[in-house]
Structures are given as structure tokens and as C-alpha cells.
């Protein structure tokens, strides 16, 4: 029976040196898809290739054969010996493929749990496969179901809600204290790179006034021009802090620039309006003791790390819920695929016709009395032939329509209804 097959590697199984050798460039993918389609064991196929994973997904008659040819395909394209490559590869078949793909698309298998890019990447690789006509009805419905699962995970869980980078953690903290960051005033002390990244995040969330101060005034001016901010002479540091809501320090200075006494006078100067110091310099430029003053909040680089850690934990908590959603979607997809499977329908159909003929034969025998052995044999084989001849065109038709995704389902349900196969299927499922 034909099944889904997946062979691939990811950040969980292979280090980056291997991943980059196996990865396909997007421009090469259509060509690769054509080569895959030419493989005799493969009926439908697509490729997913990102910096964290390379996966070949196929629909194939024979699982083992398909895995073999997909493995050698990867080995050839990456120029890595098959034995060596094999240790890094995982392979799935049938329902495992469905679950794996749903988890990948929902970002449950990502290096950074819940990162939003993967869904778009899967979509664009699916589109490449559609353009190359290497996917058919099975992979089409699998991918559509995967997108649906990913969408549900996005909307029904908070897996992507918490920032997991240090500079976005700074923004999140600022929001938890100051609320809306629009029209908030930012001061950067020191023209370091880290400060620049943090400010970029802050100004993206609406903070407007940006001032830069630095021991070298030229460097301050240069950085300020990047954000359309203003440069402030370093001597006016205290005044500048007083007029700011968020102060980011990232200097190479060995001495403390803001101490408790200074913070006290700053607070009375700004009527106790809350102020946040984000001190990403090492050694620290802001005395951690300032946090003991009301409405002064001070975070160093480790504290930002702690926010990221807490957020990751929240994401993991959300992931548990996401796994449940994925499981539901896997079940409903597999049930649908099963209902489209023609194997059991054919045998039931043949069984039902045979049964009708046999019933009539028995009735005949009861009416005319016992037959001589030869007559009985002949009659029995005739009845079998009739049953076979009635079933044959129906079965042929079923097999041929199986290739046609549009009419497949309708045709199957008509046959089931005419021969009352519905109940039997359900009963068998219940017994199982």
C-alpha cells in the first residue's frame, strides 16, 4: 500500500557543517524535483531546505524502496558518502510523516521554539513543488492540512508571543513598566554596537525622541544621525538622563557613570516619573543599587537573559498545548486519508456481490433439492464468475478514479452508498 515517506536531517541530528553541504539552494530546487520525480519508487515529492533542516517528503508505493532511493539521492546531491550521511538522517513513514510535518510547520521542531519564519519557508518550498508539478493529490492535501494545523497553533496558543532575543527582551521590560512606548524618550550612553541594536528595537516600537551621548562627541553625532536623533555633550549626562525615560548604557568605561546619589537627584528632578536603565556594558556603568529607589528600574545584561529564559519557558508551556492541537489535526487528517483508501472498499464490494449471488444459489438449492456433485460444482463456479464480472468494471473504475483528486471522494461515497458499505466499514472500525 502506498504511503508518505520522509527522509531528512535537522539541527537535532546534524551539525551545521553537514547541513550546509546537504542544503539545496532555492534556484536548484526545481531541477532537483524533476530528478526526484524520475525515480521509479517515488510517486509525488517535495523538498524543504532551510538553514536548520533539509527534508525530502514523498508519496510512494513501497516504503523501504523509497527510503533507499531518497537516501542515495541526498548522498549524491551532497557528495557525502551514504554510510556517513546515514548517521545524520532520520526517516519517517505513514502517520509519522504527517505528525513530523505538522510539527515542523507549527514551529514545534524549530531551533528557537515558536519562531515564525518556518511556516512561510515551508509554503514557498511547497509552491516550488507545485510549479514543478512534482506534487499530486496526496502531498497537496497533506500540505494543506499542515498549513491548517500551523494556523491553528498560531491563533490558539501563545507560542510566538514572547520575545526571545536580548534586545527585544529590553523592549518587553520597558513596555511592562512604561506601557505604550510611543513618545517615550531614549538616551544612549556610549556609541557601542549593542546599544545600537537595542535602540533599533525600541524605535521600531514607537519611541520617538532619541538622544546620544558619548565621550567622543563625533561618535555620538554619527550614531545619532542613524536614528535621526540628537547628540548631547557628555558633560550634560545628568541633565540628559533627567529628560529621558529609557537609558541604555553601553560604554567601555571601567567606572560607574550613574550612582545612587546621582539617581536620587535625578528622580527628584523628574518628579518621580519612572525611569529604566538598561545597562549592557561590562563592567557595568550603572550602580545596581539604584534599583532600590522608587520608580527606578535597572537591568543588566544578565537580567535581560533571565527575561529571555522566562519567555522561553512560557513558550515551552504553550508548546504543550500546541502538541495537543497537532495531535488532533493528525488524527483528523489520517482519518480522512483512511476514508479515501480504496483497498478495503474494493474487498468489501467484491464480498458484497459474492454474498448476494451465494444467497440466491442457496435458495435455488433449497427449492430444487440436492444436486449431483458435478452440477453443483458447475453452478457454483458460474455464480462466482457472475459475481466477478459484475464487480470487475466497478473495481477498474475505482482504481482509475483513484488518481483523480477531484472526483475520487465523490465516486467512493457513491459506491459505498449503493452497496451499503458504510455500515460495514464503521462496524469493522468499532470492532477494531
Amino acid at each position: 500500500m502506498a504511503k508518505f515517506v520522509l527522509v531528512g536531517l535537522s539541527h537535532r541530528t546534524a551539525e551545521v557543517e553537514v547541513r550546509e553541504r546537504v542544503a539545496f539552494q532555492a534556484t536548484r530546487v526545481p531541477d532537483m524535483l524533476r530528478q526526484l520525480a524520475a525515480l521509479p519508487a517515488i510517486r509525488e515529492s517535495m523538498i524543504i531546505s532551510t538553514c536548520n533542516r533539509v527534508e525530502l517528503i514523498s508519496y510512494a508505493e513501497n516504503v523501504q524502496e523509497a527510503i533507499d532511493s531518497l537516501e542515495s539521492f541526498l548522498s549524491e546531491s551532497s557528495q557525502i558518502a551514504r554510510q556517513e550521511l546515514r548517521q545524520k538522517l532520520y526517516h519517517h513513514s505513514g502517520e509519522q510523516v504527517v505528525r513530523h510535518l505538522f510539527r515542523v510547520a507549527s514551529s514545534l521542531d524549530s531551533m528557537i521554539l515558536g519562531e515564525p519564519q518556518i511556516l512561510g519557508q515551508v509554503k514557498s518550498f511547497y509552491n516550488l513543488a507545485v510549479d514543478a508539478q512534482s506534487v499530486g493529490s496526496y502531498l497537496n492535501s497533506l500540505l494543506q492540512a499542515a498549513f491548517r494545523a500551523a494556523k491553528r497553533v498560531r491563533s490558539e496558543t501563545g507560542i510566538g508571543e514572547y520575545s526571545v532575543s536580548v534586545s527585544s527582551a529590553a523592549v518587553e521590560l520597558a513596555r511592562k513598566i512604561l506601557g505604550d512606548l510611543r513618545n517615550k524618550r531614549i538616551l544612549i550612553v556610549g556609541a557601542g554596537k549593542m546599544g545600537e541594536v537595542a535602540v533599533r528595537h525600541l524605535s521600531a516600537s514607537g519611541a520617538t525622541t532619541i538622544r546620544v551621548t558619548n565621550r567622543s562627541f563625533e561618535a555620538a553625532q554619527e550614531l545619532a544621525s542613524k536614528f535621526r536623533g540628537t547628540a548631547v555633550p557628555f558633560e550634560e549626562l545628568t541633565q540628559a538622563i533627567m529628560r529621558s525615560d529609557i537609558v541604555i548604557t553601553s560604554t567601555g568605561s571601567k567606572e560607574v557613570l550613574v550612582n545612587r546619589a546621582m539617581a536620587h537627584s535625578i528622580m527628584s528632578g523628574r518628579k518621580n516619573a519612572p525611569i529604566i536603565f538598561i545597562d549592557i556594558s561590562v563592567p557595568r556603568n550603572v550602580d545596581p543599587g539604584v534599583a532600590g529607589i522608587d520608580n527606578v528600574f535597572c537591568y543588566d545584561i544578565d537580567d535581560l537573559g533571565a527575561v529571555v529564559e522566562a519567555n522561553l519557558q512560557e513558550r515551552h508551556r504553550e508548546a504543550a498545548l500546541a502538541e495537543k492541537i497537532v495531535e488532533q489535526e493528525v488524527d483528523s487528517f489520517c482519518a480522512r486519508v483512511k476514508s479515501l483508501d480504496i483497498g478495503p472498499v474494493i474487498s468489501q464490494l467484491q464480498g458484497r456481490i459474492e454474498e448476494i449471488c451465494r444467497l440466491e444459489l442457496d435458495r435455488y438449492v433449497r427449492r430444487v433439492g440436492p444436486l449431483d456433485p458435478r452440477g453443483a460444482r458447475e453452478l457454483e463456479s458460474m455464480v462466482s464468475r457472475i459475481a466477478g464480472k459484475i464487480a470487475h468494471p466497478l473495481v477498474t473504475q475505482l482504481r482509475s478514479v483513484n488518481q483523480d483528486p477531484v472526483h475520487h471522494e465523490a465516486y467512493l461515497s457513491v459506491i459505498k452508498r449503493i452497496f451499503k458499505l458504510h455500515k460495514e466499514t464503521e462496524e469493522k472500525e468499532n470492532e477494531a
Binding site: G158, E161, Y162, L173, R175, K176, I177, L178, G179, D180, K271, N272, A273, P274, A291, D294, N295, F297, Y299, D303, A306, V307, A310, N311, E314, L321
Partner: protein, 266 residues
């Protein structure tokens, strides 16, 4: 007719369940559904109070069950206004238990054959008592935002980013809600005291007689006056304001409970 209160309480309780779930799981959808339920409960509640008022021919705040019912209505009103203004998903989880409880208690001790005490037969009842309840409800919100503030501030200062850090609103929102509800409450409380004095003049012949409830409300009012004063001058914000708002509410509860001396009618 008091069976209508069951519908109200039921809707509030449903809103509470959704709020709790939305709060715990951080699902904004549930919080919104909860708001819808509370809003419909509030409509039923309003209709019930109107009908009751027409039937009994007085504003329904003349005995304990009526008062609790009216108080629940006032809290829901302030809750709905605050929810429309600020997206605070935590609010419902903490306000609605009280609202549901008050509505249920009020229904349980309902007295169908209630007659209005002669003392309360006055036009002043309408303004004095209803505004007093509005003040209590606003101060409840002030106190709650103060508590939210203190918890969130502790999470932020100790740098322990735990359960409530993710679920409580930002300090700015807490402070803002505290300020607004404080001003509404304070104005209402002032009106209560002034109208009370006029009513006392009519009923007992004196503007002020240092009756226990009068004294208690004056103390409460003074506490909030202090808070408003410092809040306006901006030098007391955040933590200190939050502490005072809690003390103020303790005093408010005391004022609400003191019903002896001249104010004996329950």
C-alpha cells in the same frame, strides 16, 4: 421577581469562569467573551433594578439585600467602563468573584415584603446613597490596581519573571487606572458627604453630629484627600500611592460596615 437575580448571577459567574480561564491561559478571546457575558448580565441587572424601583416606588438601596444588589451593580459598572478603556485581562478574574458573590448573597437574603424605613423616605436618598456606592465601587478598583501595581513592581524589581509578571498589566496601566478611579471615587465621596450633611440638617436638625458613620467617612475622605493631593503634585506615584490606596479601601470597608448610631436602619 428576585429570580431574575439568578440570571444575573449566572451570567456573571459564566463571565468569571471565562475570565479565570483567559487569565490563566492568557487567552484574550476568553476575556472578550467574558466581557460580553458580564455586559449582558449587567443589562439584566439594570432592568431588574429599574423594575424593582418602579414596583417599590423608591430607589432600591434601603435594606441590606437591596444595597448589596446595588453595590454589585456599581462595581460591574466601573468594571465595564475600565475594561472598555484598558485591556486588562486580569481585572475580570479579580473583580467578578466579588460581583458574583454579592449578587448571590443579595438574592439569598431577599425580602419580598420589604417596607422602606420611614427615616429613608427622602429625596436625598437618591443622590446621597447611590453616589456613596459609586464611591465605594471606584475605591475598590483603586485598591485593586494598587495591588496589581505592587505585585508587578515586585516582579520587576526582584527580577523574578514568574506567573503574574506575564499576566498582570504594565505598571503604567496600573498607575493610570489607580489615578482615574481615585479621582472618580474622590469626587463621588465628596458629594456623598456634602449631600449627607444637607440631609442630616433636614432629618436631625444638624449638619454634622459626629455619628460613627459620619466620622468614619470623614476619615476615609481625608485619606483619599491626602492621596489625591500627593498624586496631583506627582511626587507620590507608584508604590506609595498603591499602599495608600489599600489603606484607603480598608477604611472604606469600615465606613461601609459602620451602621449604628444615627445610621441604624439595616
Amino acid at each position: 421577581m428576585s429570580w431574575i437575580l439568578y440570571i444575573t448571577a449566572g451570567l456573571y459567574a459564566l463571565g468569571l469562569l471565562h475570565s479565570l480561564f483567559g487569565f490563566y491561559q492568557k487567552r484574550q478571546v476568553f476575556v472578550r467573551v467574558a466581557l460580553g457575558m458580564v455586559a449582558s448580565g449587567f443589562l439584566v441587572h439594570t432592568w431588574f433594578l429599574l423594575m424593582l424601583g418602579l414596583q417599590r416606588r423608591h430607589i432600591p438601596i434601603t435594606n441590606l439585600s437591596e444595597s448589596l444588589c446595588f453595590f454589585a451593580w456599581c462595581i460591574t459598572l466601573t468594571f465595564l467602563v475600565a475594561s472598555l478603556r484598558y485591556r486588562i485581562s486580569a481585572l475580570g478574574a479579580f473583580v467578578l468573584p466579588l460581583v458574583s458573590l454579592l449578587t448571590i448573597i443579595s438574592q439569598l437574603m431577599w425580602d419580598e415584603n420589604h417596607a422602606i424605613p420611614p427615616l429613608l423616605k427622602s429625596k436625598w436618598l437618591y443622590l446621597h446613597t447611590s453616589v456613596a456606592f459609586l464611591a465605594y465601587a471606584s475605591f475598590f478598583l483603586t485598591c485593586l490596581s494598587g495591588i496589581f501595581y505592587l505585585i508587578q513592581e515586585r516582579e520587576l524589581k526582584t527580577k523574578h519573571f514568574r506567573f503574574l509578571y506575564f499576566r498582570l498589566p504594565s505598571l503604567q496601566v496600573c498607575d493610570e487606572l489607580l489615578r482615574r478611579s481615585l479621582f472618580v471615587g474622590f469626587v463621588a465621596m465628596s458629594i456623598t458627604i456634602v449631600t449627607g450633611a444637607f440631609w442630616a440638617q433636614q432629618a436631625w436638625g444638624r449638619f454634622w453630629s459626629w455619628d460613627p458613620k459620619e466620622t468614619a467617612s470623614l476619615i476615609t475622605w481625608a485619606i483619599y484627600l491626602l492621596l489625591v493631593n500627593y498624586r496631583l503634585s506627582s511626587s507620590w506615584r507608584g508604590r506609595r500611592a498603591a499602599y495608600i490606596s489599600i489603606i484607603g479601601f480598608a477604611s472604606t470597608l469600615f465606613t461601609f460596615g459602620v451602621n449604628w448610631g444615627l445610621h441604624t436602619y439595616l
